[in-house]
Amino acid sequence: MTAVADRPTTIFRRPTAETGFWSWVTSVDHKKIGIMYGYTAFIFFIVGGLEALLLRIHLASAESNFLSAADYNGLFTTHAVTMIFLVVMPMSAAFMNYLLPLMIGARDVAFPRLNALSYWIFLFGGIFLYSGLLFSGITAPTGVAGIPGNLDPSDVRSFGALPDGGWFMYQPNAGADFSPSTALDFAVIGLQILGIASLISSVNFIVTFFNLRAKGMRLLRVPVFIWMTLVVAFLLLFSLPIIAIALFMVMFDRQFGTLFFDATAGGDPILWQHLFWLFGHPEVYILILPAMGIVSEILPVFSRKPLFGYAAIVFAGAAIAFLGFGVWAHHMFSSGITTVAQAGFGLTTMTIAIPTGVKIFNWLGTMWLGRIKLTTPMLFAIGFIAMFTIGGLSGVTHSVVPSDWQQTDTYYIVAHFHYVLFGGSILGIFGGLYYWFPKLTGRMMNDRIGKVHFWLWFIGFNMTFAPMHWLGLQGMIRRTWRYDPSLEFWNQIVSVGAFVIAIGLLVFIYNFWTSKRRGEIAGMDPWDARTLEWAIPNPTPAHNFSVVPTVHTLDDFWHQKYEEDAEGRSVRKQEADDHVAHLGEIGIHPPVPVHLPNPSYFPVVMAAGLPLIGYGIIFHISALGKALIVLGVLISLIALIGWGAEPLEESHSPSAGAQ
């Protein structure tokens, strides 16, 4: 037996910058990564919102020529892609990154460098997706019979084109014959790049959840938001491969002439739909479950009661995810799938309403008999319940298959999923932002302006999306560049509503900006909260916990502060204030030095290779394209070698620990 000692295997030194630009680029700190996710997603939120406003300006009149048909199709495609993949998913990822270690009492996620890699891949993927604007032009279909479609010269501009196949990219319309513009290739490949980012995160979060929980934090002591993080990670783990393969096939069809979805050669366009929705429906839960988790954290704090039916809410979340894999064909009720399949998928779709209902009733149970403090985050949480319920109920009407034959592909559906994704996900996420803002910045968000924001959104949201139910029932189809003039009145209301939402967002930006600089200092535990992340100072110190906590119960932090009297009412312990002050003290001055994972260059370098490969594939016919593929692979490979050879520990910088 020969024992071999560990030897440094490297020539690289790890970066050491702690402030400024490079500290962010090379950061492996889950908090910084979370914040970068948040800002990036917010910028995309503004982009996606502007796209929506353009669409709504166009739709304010029935025969509008504000946008050309090509631009209209491009904008509704990018609006969806942006809001789903570049806004709601990364905003959820921002919260997960920031909070997962904090809420389970850990110093970081299991693989900090992989975490950074996820972020950079996401960022570059998003930029790649939009960079198509610089390289693509608007084109008419080339058709199947050698006779191409035609565009009027007034529709062909020097400015680039957006992908125009819809986010669902139904084949063969989004195939090479009918959407020949390279704009669509940027979406196809961009989504694959984004998928890699999500896949890496999901693996990372799963390991973190299972292996890094603080001592005593048994499974049923884990906060609901973290449970939902785990559930979402599993949903991603099992649904992303499906869409990755489907997109892979489309990419091959478009780039290398395979025939997967070419109906004239015997390909099956409906296969694409099965694959797409087998991913697409779990994706819906990927978008909503984190917001449900956030709301489950906010409600108990401001009702000053524990979450009603904690276990039921956790299991309901898991059940939704599980059932979510068995309902995909309800997006295809009118596609000609067999009658038995329609009935079956109708039934599974109905059953998914049951765990959803359980969640809603338990949230109501949490508020009931509470002592409700109507702060801004609480308003958003209540707004979430109210609006999500509407989306859920209209969802049930879709499970009635014949009704769905009438309603599918109309604005009724548009209304439905905006109630779920805006009324649900976005309200939940913004509630979370108000709630955890002191955690991020050490300052409070202005509550009064926050309420103005809430009411503007609540009113604007309902103005925008409630009339869409009616428009859909009146036969206004989705993705329509023109509509019947009789529908103009409600469309104008909708367009005005969209601008009310935009004003609300401006109010939020103002509030965020001023509160970040001049907001009231939060101090320790500003909300009198229940979970571990509040047992440390605000903003969170670089090392999270000076002393890794030991957990004794669900809502451990609350029970450190409160006990129950004979009636079961909370009574603040006498020593609670001192205890919290003490936690604040040691939070800033750790009793023993703490060292943190060192920053690294390699995540950002490795991520930079992927878009190059993407460009290379799109332009693979040219020599430059082939060179780009080689270059991209080389860059990623070199980063990989550097990653593996990077020394694990640099000499500890003093300021990373006690200051």
Binding site: A69, G309, A312, L369, I382, T389, V400, G475, F489, R569
Partner: protein
Amino acid sequence: MSRGRLFRLLQLAALGLTLGACSVIGIPDSPLNALDPKGPFSERIDNLFWPVFWLATGVFVLVEGAVLVATILFRDRPGRKEPRQIHGNNKLEILWTVIPAAILASIAVPTFQAVFELSECGEGAYPVEIIGHQWWFEYRYPEEGIETANVLVIPSGREVCASMTSEDVLHNYWVPALNGKRYLVPGQTTLLRLQAYEPGVYWGQCAEFCGLSHSLMRAQVRAVTEAEFSEWVAAQQAPAVTPAEGSPAGAGLEVFLNRGCTQCHNIDSINEIEQAAFNGPDLTHFMDRGVIAGAYKEYSVDNLKTWLANPPKEKPGSYMPNLGLTQQEIDDLAAFLETLT
């Protein structure tokens, strides 16, 4: 919120609702209104939709009511004691699992019945074929040997069984007054049952996103009495009449034959083209339809001339190119097309 302010707010909300309702009544229904069934199949769906809708409304009132009540009733006020720390209640959990399940089961049963009833065409249904193209619908009557486009003429009171397919991308045939939607899939055949109680014109639309001019891909079903239908069939089976030479229509025929129109368009007895290469709408009885350009525009001489002058301008992506016709050629061509009754 004080009681007075709450009252005023409610008043305001009521006013808003009333105004909203009034304006809804004041606006005419859209031609694609899905809530106005005109045939047995759409009526069957309608009868299924409303009970579910009211059930959902009931749950809506209940939940939203509970949210409001909880927010108002349990709002923190000075002197309010800390709440009792209730962690849950298993009986309640079971209750709000079982009751929704029961409600859903009560919806599931009629849903299943309707799905199975509506999916298969009835025996003896009149067969037609619908073929989707970017961006118009082609109709064929296999028993009568008729090919037409844009307007599907059917006998009222009789079930029509449409077997559908597509030549290019996915389309979705939807005439809300007569039935729900069904895809047209290239390389596959799907079935759709259509039936109108009364003679009349029922509008339809391609509902699946199918490219640049998706929104302009419309359809019309014209239900006529049995007698009218027989007449219509006979008229359709007749060939077109060749216009006299020297007349504007005769000049138009020359334009039609020499400026590329015959590459895609067929007119019985005037030109016969191989359908295999490329298929534009059959124009033999063009004037019978009353609509042009994928049923997007009502027929009028002006509309027709605008269309002929520059189709891609009217319909982005159009496979009919701008042929660069002179005004004279357009006038002649329109005169010729008007003879195709």
